[in-house]
Subunit: 331 residues, 2 copies
């Protein structure tokens, strides 16, 4: 299976570090230097994740030969779908006019989702002999973060991506993937609503107050996430490179999830990755969850000659979960 | 890939048709005869979907040689996870003590989810050369249905299943799958909360009332769902059987999603399926969403000699979405 092309979309509304500082009360220098955000894009009150995903798909159709009627599989990576039920992929398939015979499903993963979903899609296309797949990512965290929330609002931005996958294509090749899951620390990135609590079980019929705002909000234990990344991901990158019989030196770029600039650089230093091999987009988009890696890849594909090049891709976060693979471009 | 074994679990709390009639105001005879529920099981106020899924997995471990440390992939099919973030599969992996190197992800599908996920898992195990997979289903709709809700509370029951999948196993073989998606009618089964609306965007900071109960409740347009099933699924079953170069007569059982007894029988009649080839469990469990088909298969595997037998499996509902496959047992 080959990645034929990638397109992304961000909302029109753009916020600077100074604006984020005003909303949250966090120091502007901290946002700009430590988190690493110069600006980011945020959905407006009338826009949804599916709207943004649709924009990314339409851009992909505009740029390439891919047509909606060719698509046999739509995979949508999200943990913040427009609605709990039905899945985003079904609603997006209708918006794009995909054929009724298209297989469409959502994958519930966060920052590791794109790397996972490449493997999920590769297997699905192979087993079912489906030629063209569309892999979409969008997790608009602005919908689950309060403006004044210091811990999380200064980190995330909204974005969506669409990747054209082709079963018999040979532009790129995926290597052996290193997967991992540490659910015991899953509460480090969490929306607490739900669990045993149901508005229909625990409250009297006349109640209209169903959740406290705080329960619907994203909670993140920054230090736990940082420790997880520093402990797990360098090992995953080394394991993946060794499994693919490659060396650190033979890798041209490392397209790593953009959690924060500080964490990205600290982790890359631990691995031993030179700065010039480390593309960055958190400065312009913030942490876009599952969209960070495909946005990095899109930019590399547009600006560099990738023939014969190798890119390590590594996603890590919500779950806690991680996945690392090597993407090789043909000569 | 082979299905080696299936185990299910239902909550202790059991409700009869008479009890459901009292809650909803729906006629008891309608519940017992048309929906087809004699009784069903419902999670207690302190129990969650992951609790029930864990019980199904532990039953699977008790019954078989499968050990937690052997599992390389955990796929959890749900649209009602314990929390919006993180995914159920990560939290369940930790509960079961699965290895940190286990790949774990959720698949966001409803009643078509088990048939889809068999294909997703087969491809994932194959591509990644992972030997043992654990496929889990649980959608506890009791958490998103109000007791007094006539349209939906008289239909659904809670259940969970765990399926042991083995890449090189040969007990069973999956055929060519027929997939489909009709997202234009996705609102026929929906939880409206979300969309453009965010409690953090649209409400003032001091607000604690974030959603109306009604928005968090499952809405179902029964007639639209019925028409969808009658129009799409007979065609899908015929298409799948033809694609696998089989005849209707050569199929031993049809393990079909148990939406309601009336719909099940009407649709099976349209296909031309004899009643003795149509296992039923809605009478004892209600409509258990993605768990209905694996619960049917578990019962067949426990009570019948399946060597050389062929079972059509077809899931359909939320999305709207469907998938039909043929499961063949070796001689």
């Amino acid at each position: 299976m080959s990645i034929e092309a990638i397109a992304s979309a961000v909302p029109q509304r753009r916020e600077t570090a100074a604006e984020i500082a005003r909303q949250t009360g966090v120091d502007e220098a901290f946002i700009a230097d430590k988190v690493g955000i110069q600006y980011r894009h945020v959905l407006g009150p009338d826009e949804t994740g599916i709207d943004l995903a649709e924009a990314a798909c339409r851009r992909l159709f505009d740029r390439t030969q891919l047509k909606p009627e060719d698509i046999g599989t739509l995979v949508f990576v999200t943990q913040t779908p427009d609605h709990p039920i039905p899945h985003n992929s079904a609603l997006l398939a209708a918006r794009l006019g995909l054929p009724h015979r298209c297989a469409a499903f959502d994958v519930g993963l966060g920052c590791s989702g794109y790397v996972y979903a490449l493997s999920i899609a590769e297997g699905f296309l192979a087993i079912n002999e489906i030629e063209h797949g569309l892999l979409v990512t969008c997790d608009p965290y602005s919908k689950i973060i309060a403006a004044e929330d210091k811990a999380t609002n200064a980190v995330f931005g909204d974005g969506a991506t669409a990747t054209w996958l082709r079963r018999t294509g040979n532009r790129t090749k995926l290597g052996i993937c290193d997967f991992g899951t540490d659910g015991a620390n899953g509460k480090a990135i969490m929306v607490p609503a739900g669990g045993a609590k149901s508005p229909f079980v625990s409250l009297p019929h006349e109640a209209t107050l169903v959740y406290d705002r705080n329960e619907l909000r994203l909670h993140m234990l920054g230090r736990d996430v940082f420790n997880f990344v520093m402990n797990r991901i360098p090992e995953s990158i080394h394991t993946c490179i060794a499994a693919n019989k490659l060396s650190l030196e033979s890798i041209d770029w490392f397209a790593l999830h953009q959690g924060s600039r500080y964490m990205l650089f600290a982790m890359a230093d631990r691995v031993g990755i030179a700065r010039e091999k480390l593309p960055v987009n958190i400065d312009r988009y913030g942490n876009t969850v599952s969209s960070s890696i495909p946005m990095l890849l899109e930019e590399l594909m547009q600006t560099a000659d990738l023939r014969g090049r190798k890119i390590v891709i590594s996603g890590f976060g919500v779950g806690l979960s991680w996945a690392t693979n090597v993407l090789s471009f043909k000569h």
